[in-house]
Symmetry: C2
Subunit: 110 residues, 2 copies
């Protein structure tokens, strides 16, 4: 996302935070439990490593996810939802439901 426009509603800011192709699904995967980088990679095989970290970093910068490094023998990093992230996830719920119904409808129409 690029432009910072004076939006008349909250959709603008929200889209700047979860816009793009992957952020919403990443956040979704973090909803149930914290995940390691490698776990996310396996859970979302279609996203490249580059995109995965890039999006995680942006989500971190926006206060949506928390990153914790464990200084262990094989390095370990865990990503988890912040409170803000959880509230965003909740706000995405109705939209996800709508998308489900829409996809079903569109699928049935064919």
């Amino acid at each position: 996302m690029k432009a910072k426009k004076p939006y008349n509603c909250g959709i603008g800011p929200a889209f700047e935070v979860i816009g793009g192709k992957w952020k919403a699904v990443i956040l979704w995967e973090l909803h149930a439990q914290p995940r390691r980088f490698g776990e996310l990679k396996r859970l979302l095989p279609d996203i490249s490593e580059k995109m995965l970290i890039q999006q995680l970093r942006e989500l971190e910068a926006d206060g949506i996810v928390h990153r914790e490094v464990f200084h262990e023998v094989p390095p370990r990093v865990e990503y988890s939802e912040t409170k803000l992230g959880a509230s965003l996830n909740a706000a995405l719920g109705p939209l996800a439901d709508w998308g489900d119904r829409y996809a079903k409808r569109a699928g049935a129409a064919r």
Copy 2:
């Protein structure tokens, strides 16, 4: 939006429909009442005419907005929400609220 991936949740399909920079705000403007093309142009001065029709056409193709032409002396075209569009707008409500709070918080932080 380009890729048609098998998403694990409804966010994917939803984003394919209201993704992009303008669709959500356009839909928002149609919520209260139907609007003419020129009205939308005036209401959303930042969007170019090209983008406006392009997005309206895509929303129409997805069954989100309805387009009605009145064969009058100066041509008149009205765009309105379909039922599906209204349900999408409703699903966007919580996200818009979240965005409002987020923007307020971010604004206050500076």
